[in-house]
Symmetry: C2
Subunit: 367 residues, 2 copies
């Protein structure tokens, strides 16, 4: 079908590769959205997902949509016009939070950090104190645009102090890094199926605390976004299985399989594998004169943002990797376009074999 | 994996079955959302979809989400608070239009018809005349809840008279019935991948006229729904391929295959096959004493709503069909719960073999 090597070695910012048994599960005949066997799968997804998120939250689901739908669902359900949201921005996806919160009428107080450097909790604390009554504080745990890992505990502490909800984007961390929702004190956390969870794209794992659900229930107005209305989704995923929309059984059966793979591997082993693949990559790139964009202390083990060496043609290198080796890596977003590559070591892509291949290919292409 | 017969014979209101080659295509290794091969697939999807919709509209895409996301995208993009929407309601999905339009701040003028009977265009015309300035007129072409086919031409004519946009739900018609978007004069039309299009669930085919896009571009406020913002989606599907969200390559590659299947069969042949399967079903059911819910003149050839005979236990029959034969049929929604069955003859489910099996199974179960 393709003139390019297939299957692709997906080492961009996502999607990543998925295990063969997950792909096989995606490629089964469809099931109805009210089929008892699908309901079993939904229950199993919820149960296993709670383990990965580190919370017994009843409302823990795989939303129909990508990680961006997960993000939007949080602002749609939690924000009413005039509510204050303190949003930390240290990359492209923090910017998106600001954009989406604004569309739902939030009074957004943004706290910026230079791209490549984590947010300063003191700045978030000052903003929250200045803002007065804060409905929620939000930030991105693993900024895919800059490869930076954001420590969450200090920000969770600030949210508690201000009695604000704490919203976290775990798109590029869940399944590859610990996301300890209850241990940290996160009220709403979403991710994506196609990154460290090792499944194709199209679902957004989501968990919401009872406190945040209560806030959504106590809204003065209906959630304008019907498709992502948590109350309606909870009716389908929870007790009475009320039809809301025809959930994509193929993706869900695949996602269940991905969760089984995760549990068989064990979360700690999985985190270690992600880190080990990333470390191998970073040390191999160093030999080619390619250095990480963030400081070593803050760099993600799932998404490696690295500086493109001077004189190297960004697009040409990525094109050659794709056409000759079927390897995908990502370019920079926004101000980092042409300045960094974003190399994912996520899910099934995070193996010694894939990293070794990429390093060999890159060595050859850069010569 | 399942104790129930598998694969399911899906003859409910959707999803329907999909051809083996479509399922195979869904079950291929993922592609990146910026992969040149995926872009080729997106171009092919757009081109073939224009043929099925009957329009050269440039903005013709497969939205990431189910048919309900398609519905929501129309109201989200076209309605600003205070805009008047005249909505015809002759079933469950017309009700949903009212609900969603209201959430986006529409001044909704609803025109009801008894469930089972098509909308009276005169009533729509009166409502539009009474309402004054009307932003859009909306109705459902194939009401899945009642099995009724709504003639669209007279309502399109009313929309033209009032210079209103005409929005049509073609979830249970596209691919199974002619949906002649430009011939009729429809400005925004959405459907679902898992019904007559013969693909798994998760995508919503959508086409929007230049006139409707212009109305969306001229909004005073941003679309509150970022994920379904047509302008942002057009940037990805159209010229500059700007990243918006990580589209689900597995579903899209499968959907392209479903469109190829449709073109190989030919639309007219496909429509005839749906009608022939439905006619066979209805005449076979008559022998069992089961009659259609709508009048013969208005009944859909894709979704057959039929009256449950007196004394028959709705849930028990459906359960037995599923457990013993792996056949899914649907129950009634809302006021029709327990009163009708909804039997789909859609996509790959619409074959003589499947109908014959269902009739035999039903004969046995009802004895």
């Amino acid at each position: 079908m393709s003139a390019l090597p297939f299957p692709r070695i997906l080492m961009g910012p996502g999607p990543c590769m998925a295990p063969a048994r997950v792909i096989d599960a995606v490629g089964r005949a469809p099931l109805g959205h009210l089929d008892p066997e699908l309901f079993e799968a939904l229950d199993e997804i919820q149960e296993r997902l709670r383990g990965v998120f580190g919370t017994p939250n009843p409302f823990t689901i795989a939303l129909t949509g990508t990680g961006m739908a997960g993000m939007e669902s949080c602002f749609a359900n939690l924000i009413e016009p005039g509510d204050t949201a303190v949003i930390g921005v240290h990359g492209f996806f923090g910017e998106r939070m600001v954009e989406i919160a604004g569309r739902y009428g939030a009074n957004v107080v943004r706290v910026d950090s230079e791209w490549g450097i984590p947010l300063d909790p003191a700045g978030i604390g000052d903003a929250a104190a200045y803002a007065g009554k804060v409905k929620l504080i939000a930030c991105v745990n693993a900024e895919t645009s800059v490869g930076v890992r954001q420590p969450l505990e200090p920000i969770a502490e600030i949210a508690r102090t201000h009695d604000a909800l704490f919203l976290v984007d775990a798109v590029t961390s869940l399944g590859g890094l610990p996301v300890d929702v209850d241990g940290i004190g996160i009220d709403a956390c979403y991710s994506a199926s196609q990154k460290c969870m090792g499944c194709p794209s199209g679902l957004s794992p989501l968990t919401v605390s009872e406190r945040a659900l209560e806030a959504a229930r106590n809204r003065r107005s209906k959630v304008s976004n019907w498709y992502l209305d948590w109350g309606l989704l909870a009716n389908y995923w929870g007790g009475d299985r009320a039809y809301h929309h025809t959930v994509p059984s193929n993706l869900l059966i695949g996602f269940r399989e991905a969760l089984r793979v995760i549990d068989e591997e064990g979360l700690q082993n999985r985190f270690a594998r992600h880190k080990s693949a990333s470390d191998l990559l970073i040390s191999g790139l160093a030999e080619l004169g390619i250095r990480p964009f963030p400081s070593d202390e803050h760099r993600l083990p799932t998404l490696n943002a690295v500086r493109i060496p001077d004189g190297v043609d960004d697009a040409a290198v990525r094109k050659q990797l794709l056409l000759e080796y079927g390897i995908e890596i990502g370019g920079g977003l926004g101000p980092l376009k042409g300045k960094i590559w974003r190399i994912g070591t996520m899910g099934e892509s995070a193996t010694t074999r894939n990293v070794t291949l990429l390093l060999g290919a890159l060595r050859s292409v850069l010569q």
